[in-house]
């Protein structure tokens, strides 16, 4: 016990004390010369060769009349002018915007309600949660197939039910009626995308310290008041990240439209990703297709930059 150097030091006059232990630098990591770059080479190759270069190449292609079979000539902003005068492009842009807005809004509200329900003390809560999350485990394409079968206009169960229950007296053309098609697509998107919201919101709900809501309850706030003035503000960050991530994914739900309507009837349910596919690949006008994609890049860059910022901030906290 006499070997305790600190105790020994304390009894010595100042000049004879051992030097203080080196202060550990408060760095997060150790400097490492070239090594980190060696580790990053494969990732850099993928990032540069398969993401950055294609993006630049794609933007360049949007200014050419390139088709699949041959390289194109530079034609300036001609493709964009064509698109601006193209009724189908304008409708697809409008559809994309409207669909994304209402699908995301419904998912956020329903996701919150479902999360609140699943946060309550219930018997078999784990099983109920897993079942409510189940659509998330269904591959998106198969979710589309399932709804295609439900919406089937000859023998589909939805047409049968709406007729049998007297909700409608005429069969509804869920996918081929221009007025209904996009709504049907959106409902299928809500079904498949909802569990992500429910999971994220539930995780956030259960991490709110219960003292907060209890304190509010003691102060006389009712459950609704507590939700809006305590719970919701606590979840602000999670809600923002969830909604932004989901906005990107919803806007790009190519597969749902492709499986359910292929953009039809008469391009009424076309969204921008399916239109880019239609122009660029099906009609092999790569230049025009690329121009459709390039026209949405600015919106996405803003969204992605904000989101990146938030996710990195969370990560370092």
């Amino acid at each position: 016990m006499a070997a305790d150097p600190a105790a020994l030091d304390a009894r010595l006059p100042p000049g004879f004390r051992s030097p203080p232990p080196p202060v550990r630098p408060q760095r997060r990591s150790t400097p490492a010369g070239l090594t980190p770059y060696l580790f990053l080479i494969p990732a850099f190759l993928i990032f540069g060769g398969l993401i950055v270069y294609p993006l630049i190449d794609g933007i360049a292609t949007a200014f050419t009349d390139r088709v699949i079979a041959r390289g194109g000539q530079f034609i300036g902003v001609q493709n964009f002018l064509t698109l601006l005068g193209d009724e189908i492009f304008l409708r697809a842009a409008w559809n994309s915007l409207g669909l994304t807005l209402w699908v995301v809004a419904i998912k956020a509200v329903l996701g919150m309600i479902f999360a609140l329900v699943l946060a309550q003390p219930l018997p078999f809560r784990g099983i109920f949660r897993a079942l409510v999350f189940l659509p998330w485990a269904v591959p998106g394409l198969i979710a589309g197939l399932a709804w295609k079968w439900i919406y089937d206009e000859q023998v589909g169960v939805l047409t049968y039910l709406t007729l049998a229950l007297g909700i409608t007296d005429m069969p509804t053309y869920w996918l081929s009626d221009p007025k209904v098609g996009l709504i049907s697509v959106g409902v299928a998107m809500v079904w498949h995308g909802l569990p992500f919201y429910t999971m994220m919101f539930l995780a956030a709900l259960t991490s709110i310290p219960s003292e907060l809501t209890e304190a509010a309850a003691i102060d006389g706030a009712g459950p609704i008041r507590r939700f809006f003035s305590v719970t919701l503000p606590q979840m602000r960050n999670v809600i923002a990240i969830t909604v932004m991530l989901s906005t990107i994914w919803t806007f790009n739900s190519f597969h749902m439209v492709y499986v359910l309507t292929q953009g039809g009837p008469a391009n009424r349910t076309q969204i921008l990703p399916t239109l880019a596919f239609e122009y660029g690949i099906v009609r092999s006008q790569l230049g025009l297709g690329a121009a459709v994609l390039v026209s949405v890049i600015p919106i996405f860059l803003v969204l992605i930059f904000i989101l990146t910022q938030r996710m990195l901030k969370k990560e370092t906290n």
Partner: protein
């Protein structure tokens, strides 16, 4: 809790009603896929849909597994997804380690680039990637799909692994360095063995994403030799009218691997979501 009796009852009733609605909404479409898979064609195309198959049959599964191209599509999907998962786990671990642990110029830019790449939707990239894959001569091959899928699995794996690596105490690396290990040995002998559960979850996610992918698969591949199950199923859907029994049976088969992953990793899925996008 200072709550009145009526409030409690109202709350309980609302909870159960909400739960019933949530369960019905989530499960009814899945139930409908599964029962359809077990019905005879006559029943499927009958005038009145039946809630339970009258004459349950395995005919649709038999057709899907032994008398269609479907098994080939499943094989292709599995092959592509496994290779993509292996490559991106390796590249992801290599890239995540210095970002989580070392200090170098451009570190924060690199981290940012990875998140950006992770968020970039495939629908922005498919036309330019088509040009690249065409130039590489890989259109209509599984190799082309593997190359394309790396664009989303590598950033994803890297981003997730950065989070996992940061949870491992730094003292372990430092001790190994003191013992004379180089950085690569630290990663393979110290970090990865500890991060195995995290690595497994990340790999499962990457596998699922590759298995489910549709857009690149439909743009880059058109022959049955390389088609994956997602594009295979759509071509079956477009090719024939009275095929719903077989399609639903195929869908059930295609969901099974993902469902197994889901059940095995369920505990980690929410954590994974939290680590990937809402850490802390």
């Amino acid at each position: 809790m200072v709550e009145g009796r009526t409030t409690r009852i109202v709350k309980r009733v609302a909870t159960w009603v909400g739960l019933a609605i949530a369960l019905f909404w989530a499960l009814a479409p899945i139930y409908w896929v599964v029962v359809t898979a077990f019905k005879t064609s006559k029943e499927i195309y009958g005038a009145v849909p039946t809630l339970v198959p009258m004459l349950p049959t395995l005919e649709n599964f038999e057709k899907a597994l032994f008398r269609s191209e479907f098994p080939r599509f499943v094989y292709n999907s599995g092959f592509v997804a496994v290779i993509v998962t292996l490559i991106s786990a390796v590249i992801g671990a290599l890239a995540a380690y210095p970002i989580a642990r070392m200090e170098f110029k451009g570190q924060s830019v690199t981290a940012r680039a990875i998140v950006l790449a992770y968020l970039l939707p495939p629908s922005l990239l498919f036309i330019p990637l088509f040009l690249i894959i065409q130039r590489m001569g890989l259109i209509d091959t599984k190799a082309g799909l593997i190359v394309a899928y790396l664009t989303f699995t590598v950033p994803f794996c890297t981003w997730m692994l950065i989070g996992y690596f940061k949870t491992i105490p730094k003292e372990l690396d430092e001790a190994a360095v003191v013992d004379g290990a180089n950085r690569f040995q630290v990663l393979t002998r110290v970090i990865l063995p500890i991060a195995t559960p995290g690595l497994a979850v990340v790999a499962l996610f990457a596998f699922t994403n590759a298995w489910n992918e549709f857009l690149y698969a439909i743009v880059f591949v058109y022959s049955n030799d390389a088609k994956t199950l997602t594009t295979g199923l759509t071509s079956m859907m477009m090719g024939d009218t009275f095929i719903w029994g077989q399609l639903m049976a195929s869908s059930v088969i295609a969901i099974v691997p993902i469902l197994i992953i889901y059940i095995v990793a369920q505990k980690y899925i929410v954590e994974g979501l939290a680590a990937g996008s809402v850490k802390g």
